[in-house]
């Protein structure tokens, strides 16, 4: 009733009435839906690359692309055209089938995630009852693609990149999934539309900021963005797993990466920033698309800001942060969150179902949850700080300036 499929399904009775075969009409409308949903990210990625480059340029005191088209808007198209005409080299030692498969998987898996993104209250590719699980499952293929690309290239840097992937992407999935449990707990559903609708009164980022942060950071790692860009590590492994790729296959990796980042931004917006919720969305559902776009833009630009301003972690540090900080934190968070929800029920702070979308009615439970999150966050940050201090106490020191008085001045040369 609320999905894109049904929306287009109104098309199929029309076609049947016009004398079409019912099955054929059904299939046609289905295909149309798929193409529409898949084209949205494809078109945005062209714009995204421009935004990313322009944004990075502004941070770095540069102008950025400004030659092709107005404000350099057509730069990405020009790049795509260039890549189309570039020779594509497959190294002689590579495993050809896997080598060619990797870029396709990269892109396809990211596109697949879009099937469950709710654009407006009425428009969604497929409102699966296990939307979150679908995201986790499809997202996990991301690790596979890097592994395939890195291994099949028969290149040592690529292999090292792939090594790191096994560890990094796969490890960060653990806190990510745990963080995803929190919205599910609060919404009582795994469907994306249900999760969005549950945020009518208050966004989940306010009700559980820790979960939002863990999800965001874990996704930064999943997408291989700074400070977790160890898969590519341009200054160490040159380009990591995609080093041997050229021509459009490389382009696919690039586009896939950009799109992945954007997809992650969209999902953060959907899961924690209220998705399509916004003023007047009840009256005009199509507005939801704009609200979602705006929220996504905020998350996306924040990711760009991080990318352009922080150095990279080392692989062992990244793993330590994950297993020794984020995983314990998310486990404790789950326990805390579920306990607090029970507590709220017991105290009767949960708003009545008809008031679920009312901000004021949501305030008491929000405050309880927020307070719990903040306290937990503060405790963990304190532990981290103390640990860091003890680790470094021994060898942290500022440079000592040895003041050497100058001999009497003014002895001008002859």
């Amino acid at each position: 009733m609320t999905s894109c499929v049904d929306f287009i399904n109104t098309l199929s009775p029309c076609l049947v009435r016009a004398g079409w075969n019912a099955d054929l009409a059904n299939l046609l409308s289905l295909l149309l839906g798929v193409v529409i949903v898949a084209t949205v990210p494809l078109l945005t990625v062209i714009l995204l690359i421009w935004i990313e480059r322009k944004f990075a340029a502004r941070i770095q005191d540069r102008i950025g692309p400004n030659r092709v088209g107005p404000y350099g808007l057509l730069q990405s198209l020009a790049d795509a055209l260039k890549m189309l005409t570039k020779e594509d080299i497959t190294p002689s030692g590579a495993d050809r089938i896997l080598f060619n498969l990797a870029p396709i998987i990269t892109f396809a898996t990211v596109v697949l995630i879009w099937a469950i993104v709710p654009f407006t209250p009425l428009h969604i590719g497929a409102d699966l009852s296990i939307g979150i699980l679908y995201f986790v499952a499809v997202g996990s293929i991301g690790a596979v693609k890097v592994m395939i690309g890195g291994w099949s290239s028969n290149n040592k840097y690529a292999l090292l990149g792939a090594f790191r992937t096994i560890a990094l992407i796969v490890s960060y999935e653990v806190p990510m999934i745990l963080a995803l449990l929190v919205p599910v707990l609060m919404a009582g559903s795994m469907g994306m539309q249900d999760l969005t609708r549950a945020q009518g009164g208050m966004w989940f980022i306010v009700m559980s900021p820790l979960a939002a942060i863990i999800f965001f950071v874990a996704n930064l790692a999943e997408t291989g963005r700074s400070p977790f860009d160890l898969l590519e590590a341009e200054s160490e492994l040159i380009a990591g797993y995609n080093i041997e790729y050229s021509g459009f296959k490389f382009g696919m990796f690039m586009a896939g990466e950009f799109m992945h980042v954007f997809t992650v931004a969209v999902l953060t917006a959907v899961l924690f920033l209220g998705g399509w919720w916004g003023p007047f969305v009840d009256q005009v559902p199509a507005l939801g698309f704009i609200w979602l776009g705006l929220k996504t833009a905020v998350v996306y630009l924040f990711m760009l800001l991080i990318r352009n301003t922080v150095p990279r972690f080392r692989i062992d540090q990244v793993m330590n942060i994950n297993w020794k900080f984020m995983v314990p934190l998310s486990i404790v968070l789950i326990l805390l969150q579920s306990f607090l929800l029970r507590l709220i029920d017991a105290l009767g702070l949960r708003p009545a179902p008809e008031l679920a979308n009312d901000l004021l009615a949501n305030l008491p439970q929000t405050l309880v949850l927020l307070a719990g999150n903040l306290v937990l966050g503060a405790i963990f940050m304190h532990l981290l700080q103390r640990h860091g201090r003890t680790l470094r106490e021994a060898d942290e020191a500022l440079a000592v300036v040895k003041g050497e008085a100058a001999p009497a001045g003014g002895m001008a040369e002859a």
């Binding site: 040592k156 090292l160 590590a233 160490e236 990279r312 540090q317 470094r392 060898d395 440079a399 040895k402």
Partner: protein, 617 residues
């Protein structure tokens, strides 16, 4: 002179006397005109060197190099310059050996820092250093025929000894010898030529020489069999700062061994130097450490001025010229450190932003270089007994666009604003952004530690040495120019890790700004003074030797120049040796890297701050 209880306080002549008393037969004074130091019998060299280091306190071996005296005297000479890290002049000692089978004992066991320099002398002169642990060619490839710095070695294409080469322009016709060579043109392969079948054995020789073999296996602690991975980082790698190569054996991601391979940019700078006239060499020094060409100029000018001052018709640089030199050199230090810090951050994985911020400031300094010397990078500004010209009245600054227009400024105002406001402001800002950054500290504190005693033994210099806690700065230890009258401190580190190097560089920029603040009023005062003393355009340099060294931003840059041959004073250096800080600092790379991760290697290399123009020469 009274009896000094502590022999490490003895001055040079007393030290030499002490050594001569002990080894009367093995040690003699170098009595040639214009030469100094002592000549040690190679048979006793080990013992003498040990005594110098342990008893007399000459713990820092700055330079080792060979000289071929074919035609003058029929021997080769290895020249050593040893210093005390507490400061003071050099103890110069030489070992002479026959030309046919030159053999000198290796001093690597005494000063490990001699490692690369002895390999270089072996490479270029064919001098065998007996007892050297790993005597291979270092700059040239293994199949190279001959030793190019020997005076009887003939270079392909070049029929004559000195420039200008008449044979290349017979009768005004431009003709290049390489045009007659089949490889002179763009290489065209024969029809049946298959690059895939091309078999080069020198690589496999290299790996075997490194003990890396092809199938390196190791048992890890659990007794599981794991293969080690041999990876080449470089020569074409974004973080090796040029065509530098590290052959790395990896155990997982941990470095099991690392061997630097260099020479990809080798052009035999020193051979070129011998064929140029003394003045010709000045612009060539720019190409050594192309980030800080001004300082390179100064070092060479100092060395040649030492020689010139022995002869007639020479007057030293004027006060204003000295001020200008220090001004340029200190600006260069800031330029270089901005560059190196920016790239260190790049190596750490910050996506170009810190580098571009630093570059922004650097460009403004380069504007000044361009206005004064005519070039931004290859300044070629210093001259013997002065500088090329005075600073101009006005300066067009292309890096300071106002509404997309290039403005021009009064030069002194431009400098004053830069030194008093812009640079300090920028340094503070940069400091705020970087120094307390958690990731930066996490990545650098405790990584690549170099202990002070190792740093001295390995002959490292510059910020690398000082970050290890050794307050050795040539500007103070062996002062030149007007540095004695300037007020500045030497920042030193405590732990000798990457973070300390980072901080030391930062602080050095601040000290440079402090020096510049003292220079500007001196420039105002000396307005109108000549900047170039009278000296012939093609100076005839008196016979003799000189070692001029300066504290380059990257470390101690030394020029060992020998003027020999024509008794009237030759036009060309007989020997022109560059003691390149980047080259010698790399000795410490391997020991610093082992046990760290791959990601740390590029950071450690970045913290050494090398430039391949200087490393490979």
């Amino acid at each position: 002179m009274d009896v000094v209880a502590d022999k490490t306080q003895l001055d040079i002549s007393a030290s030499v006397e002490l050594l001569r008393e002990r080894w009367p037969d093995a040690i003699s004074h170098d009595n040639r005109d214009g030469f100094s130091g002592i000549i040690v019998d190679p048979a006793q060299l080990d013992d003498v060197a040990l005594a110098m280091r342990d008893e007399l306190g000459f713990d820092y071996l700055s330079s080792v190099t060979g000289v071929d005296y074919l035609g003058v005297a029929d021997h080769m000479e290895v020249v050593y310059h040893a210093y005390r890290t507490s400061g003071g002049p050099a103890l110069v000692f030489k070992a002479q050996t026959g030309r046919d089978d030159p053999r000198v004992p290796s001093l690597v066991s005494v000063w490990p820092g001699a490692d690369f320099q002895e390999r270089e002398a072996y490479d270029l002169y064919g001098i065998h250093f007996e007892g050297h642990p790993d005597l291979r060619r270092i700059l040239l490839w293994d199949g190279f025929d001959g030793h190019p710095l020997r005076k009887d070695w003939q270079e392909a294409y070049y029929e004559e000894e000195h420039k200008p080469f008449d044979s290349r322009w017979p009768g005004g016709q431009v003709y290049r010898a390489e045009e007659k060579n089949v490889f002179g043109k763009n290489v065209k392969y024969p029809d049946d030529f298959d690059l895939g079948r091309l078999n080069d054995v020198s690589e496999s020789d290299l790996y075997q020489g490194l003990g890396l073999g092809v199938d390196v296996q190791a048992l890890d602690s659990d007794g599981l069999r794991t293969d080690r991975l041999v990876v080449n980082l470089g020569p074409h790698h974004p973080s090796t700062h040029g065509v530098f190569r590290m052959v790395v054996t990896l155990d997982g991601e941990t470095i099991a061994s690392l061997d630097p391979v260099m020479g990809y940019l080798h052009r035999n700078h020193e051979k070129i130097g011998e064929r140029n006239s003394f003045l010709h060499n000045l612009p060539f020094t720019d190409r050594l450490d192309y980030i800080s060409s001004m300082s390179n100029n100064l070092g060479y000018a100092l060395a040649v001025e030492q020689l010139l001052s022995q002869g007639a018709r020479y007057s030293p640089p004027t006060y204003r010229a000295e001020c200008l030199r220090v001004l340029m050199v200190e600006l260069t230090r800031i330029v270089n450190h901005l560059w190196s810090l920016g790239f260190l951050l790049n190596d750490l994985g910050a996506f170009f932003t810190p580098m571009l911020y630093a570059n922004n400031e650097r460009e403004k300094i380069l504007d000044f270089f361009e206005a004064t010397a005519g070039s931004r990078l290859m300044c070629n500004y210093m001259r013997f007994a002065g500088v090329y010209r005075d600073i101009p009245e006005r300066i067009r600054s292309v890096a300071n666009l106002v509404n997309d227009k290039v403005r021009d400024y009064n030069t002194m105002d431009y400098l004053t604003e830069m030194v008093n406001e812009r640079l300090p402001r920028f340094l503070d800002e940069y400091d705020t952004l970087l120094t307390r950054n958690e990731i930066l500290r996490e990545r650098t504190v405790g990584v690549g530690v170099l202990l002070p005693e190792d740093a001295i033994a390995l002959s490292t210099c510059g910020p690398l040495l000082r970050a290890s806690g050794v307050p050795y700065d040539v500007r103070r230890a062996d002062p030149y120019s007007i540095y004695p009258e300037l007020d500045f401190d030497i920042p030193i580190g405590k732990n000798g890790d990457i973070y300390d190097r980072f901080l030391v560089r930062f602080q050095e920029m601040r000290e440079s700004v402090r020096i510049l603040r003292q220079i500007l009023p001196r420039l105002e005062r000396s307005q109108g003074e000549e900047v170039m003393s009278k000296v012939a355009h093609t100076p005839r340099v008196p016979v003799g030797e000189a070692y001029g060294r300066v504290e380059n931003p990257k470390g101690e840059l030394g020029y060992y120049v020998v003027s020999e041959g024509d008794p009237k004073g030759p036009q060309n250096p007989w020997r022109y040796h560059v003691r390149a800080p980047s080259f010698i600092n790399l000795t410490a790379l391997g020991p610093m890297c082992v046990g760290h991760k791959v990601a740390d290697v590029v950071t450690i290399l970045g913290s050494i701050d090398i430039v391949l123009g200087e490393t490979d020469r």
